[in-house]
Every structure is written in structure tokens, then in C-alpha cells.
């Protein structure tokens, strides 16, 4: 998603020329992500450690992951996680420049850190691409609701997108939202917002998806569906809704109230008297379902 922006970033830093960027964008589409690049990005290995393993590979016919585990740089579960999660798109572009000898791994490591710290700040505002995605989502919601969305609903959807990008990752695709009368739950947490805008938000996912979701949210690798994984899902929902209340307070001087998150124990949710929409969001590690139960005034 951010490959184009990373390319512009490298150009502005005069790390590469425009010709090199065009060639790399072409090469990127046929290359695969290397484990060493992913390990640097994840912060598991330094550039020096990756270089050491690459040198070892010239002497031994062994895979990168196998050698990195043997040297104690990575655990087997980290290798599995890295292989499964191919990392953000911009990383592949960076790797192409390393392969072409334009930069080395150490320089790539510095650029990743700088780029991400600058990008994290940008995530507080809506990037052009996210804005475009939000517009699509709002248009799709208009089809589902068959009525204009209130400013609260638009703000809510914008922030949900931004928070997914900021806290989980930008590699997701929202599916068309649609009205929902009943929903069979997996691991499901809900939270009610009261006041001038009344909405109950549910977040639901399988246990396996929750493990990957929590790993990204917390920045640690979780192996099983434990209380920390469950708490991560609660925490994301609570953080999102808290920030939404702050935005509404700042932008509209409207104070909304928030109930504590609640873990749904009912295997089947039934919605009779409210407008309820299901918004599925697909990440590479699984599907997250958001259910928005809206009480429309009047």
C-alpha cells in the first residue's frame, strides 16, 4: 500500500534516482520478500546479523531461517510468523535496492526506522489513500443504509480506518457492509457509546485470527489464545471508541459516554429493533467482523 510513498521518500532523500525507482517498481512485482529483510523490519535481527547469515549461506547449502535459528537470532515461531506475514509492500521495494547494490542492509535498516517514524506521525491525519478508502466505504454504507450518514457515522468510519492502519496494519480490504439481523459469534467483544450518538460496536474474530491480531497490536508474538490475546481485542475496541469520543468532543463539543467493553457469551446475537450492519475487514491473517448497531434518533 505504501510502496509508492516509500519510493517518493527515497527520492526526496536522494537515496535513489527516478530511473532506479522505475526499474525497482518493475522488479518488485516479480520478486519475493526475503526472510532477512522481514527480520530487520520486524526488529528481530540487525543488518549486521542478516549479513552474517547471508555470508554463511555462501558456504553452506542451508536456508536463511534454519541458519538464523541455529545462531540464536530467530526462534522457529518467529521464522514461521515472518514467512506467513509477508510484511508491508514498501519493504519489497527497499529489498530490490539492496539486491541491486544501490544501498546495503544497514542503510535499509536506517531508512526503514526513519520512514516508519515519519509515517507513524502521518497516520494521525488521514493519508490520501486512506481518505480514498474511507470514501469508498462511506459510499458502500450509503447503499446498505439507504439513507444519508450522520456526521457521527462518517467520523466513526474514518477513525476506524485510521486506527486499523495505525495499530494493526495497512494491508486490509473492507468488504461491502450489509444489514444484519443475526450473527453467530466467535470471540466477540462489544462496547456501547451513549449520548447524542448511540452506537454499540462489536468486534468479532476466530481465536486463530485473534492471536495474529493481538501480535500485531501489541508488537509481540503470541502463540495461543490466552488472556492477553483476548485483552488485546478489548483494548483495541476501547482505544478506538475512546479516541472517537475525544474527536467528537474536540470537533463538535459533544460529550459522549462509554461503557466498559463486554465479552459476548451469547453464541447468536439477534438484532430486532435497531439498525445493524456487518462490516467485514479482511487481513492476510484472517477476517475481522465489525458489527455496528445504531440507534437512530427519532
Amino acid at each position: 500500500m505504501y510502496a509508492q510513498f516509500f519510493g517518493n521518500y527515497l527520492l526526496s532523500r536522494k537515496v535513489i534516482t527516478s530511473e532506479q525507482l522505475i526499474l525497482a517498481m518493475k522488479q518488485k512485482s516479480i520478486d519475493h520478500m526475503k526472510l532477512g529483510t522481514l527480520a530487520i523490519h520486524a526488529g528481530y535481527m540487525t543488518a549486521n546479523e542478516v549479513d552474517q547469515i547471508v555470508i554463511q549461506q555462501t558456504h553452506q547449502d542451508k536456508r536463511f531461517g534454519e541458519l538464523a535459528v541455529k545462531e540464536g537470532y530467530l526462534t522457529q515461531s518467529q521464522v514461521t510468523a515472518l514467512v506467513k506475514d509477508q510484511g508491508p509492500d514498501f519493504l519489497l521495494l527497499g529489498q530490490v535496492f539492496v539486491d541491486q547494490g544501490i544501498i546495503d542492509n544497514e542503510r535499509l535498516q536506517e531508512l526503514i526506522i526513519d520512514y516508519q517514524s515519519e509515517n507513524e506521525l502521518d497516520d494521525y491525519s488521514i493519508s490520501e489513500e486512506t481518505e480514498e478508502n474511507v470514501q469508498h466505504l462511506i459510499e458502500n454504507f450509503l447503499i446498505a443504509t439507504e439513507r444519508p450518514l450522520s456526521p457521527f457515522e462518517v467520523s466513526f468510519l474514518q477513525l476506524l480506518f485510521n486506527n486499523l492502519v495505525r495499530f494493526i496494519g495497512d494491508d486490509f480490504t473492507p468488504i461491502y457492509p450489509y444489514p444484519c439481523n443475526e450473527y453467530p459469534t466467535n470471540y466477540c467483544v462489544s462496547q456501547q457509546i451513549h449520548g447524542e450518538f448511540n452506537i454499540k460496536i462489536y468486534i468479532d474474530m476466530s481465536e486463530e485470527t485473534a492471536i495474529s491480531f493481538a501480535s500485531r497490536y501489541v508488537g509481540e508474538t503470541f502463540e495461543e489464545f490466552d488472556e492477553y490475546v483476548q485483552s488485546s481485542v478489548d483494548d483495541f475496541l476501547n482505544l478506538h471508541n475512546g479516541l472517537f469520543n475525544v474527536n467528537i468532543s474536540n470537533e463538535r463539543s459533544v460529550e459522549l459516554l462509554l461503557d466498559p467493553p463486554y465479552t459476548e457469551d451469547n453464541p447468536l446475537l439477534i438484532f430486532n429493533d435497531t439498525e445493524t450492519y456487518l462490516l467485514p475487514v479482511v487481513f492476510p491473517f484472517g477476517m475481522i467482523n465489525f458489527i455496528l448497531e445504531i440507534t437512530v434518533p427519532g
Partner: protein, 125 residues
Amino acid sequence: MILDNAKILIGDDSILARKQLKDIILGYGEPIFYEASNGQDAVDIYKKEKPDLVFLDIVMPVKDGNAATREIMEYDSDAEIVIVSSVGTQSQLKAAIEAGAKDFIQKPLNADLILHVIYTRFEGR
């Protein structure tokens, strides 16, 4: 280290939030931690243990962080309470300060802000 043997109470219904806060604090010593998952438990633990510093979330079951702050302050007007919440609206900030909280930290947690809170209260201890 600055926090060795200090008593710190963390009241938050999220076990993850409590762990993240503890992990940050452990960078500055080895305090004695007390944990509460709701406002009422936080009040009860405070009365029993008299911690040096209290971190409280606002949105909690049973009793919210502002109500717990008021109750702790009625019991001990010298209590050092810092609210840590995702709901950092002006009205919540005002309510927290009126209840007696000394500081307000907006989630997501920022290690530098936690460090600032710790040094303000424990420097020269």
C-alpha cells in the same frame, strides 16, 4: 533505581494495559505492584496498602476511575493519582482533576509521559 521498593497501584480492567504499564515502569526500578481490575478494588487496595502512586483508567466496570479517585482522595487527600485513559476529552480531564487526580495521560501509552510522571514524583526520593 528510582522506583525500588516503591508501592504502585494500577487500576485498569485490561490485563494487557496493566502489563504494558508495568513493563514501562520496570525500566526504572523494581517497585511493589498492586493491581485492580475495577474502581472498587482499586479503592479497597489503596486503603489496605497505601501505595505511593496510583494509575487509574476511567472506563472500568463496577466503579469508574473518577469515582474511585474521589473516594481515595476522601480517604487520603495526599494520594498521588494519575488517570490513564483513552477518553481524554476536556470534560473527562476536568472531571479527573476535580476528583483530585494529579495528572492525566492519554492512551495509547507513551513511555516518555510515564517516565515524566515517575520522575516528577520520585526524584530525590
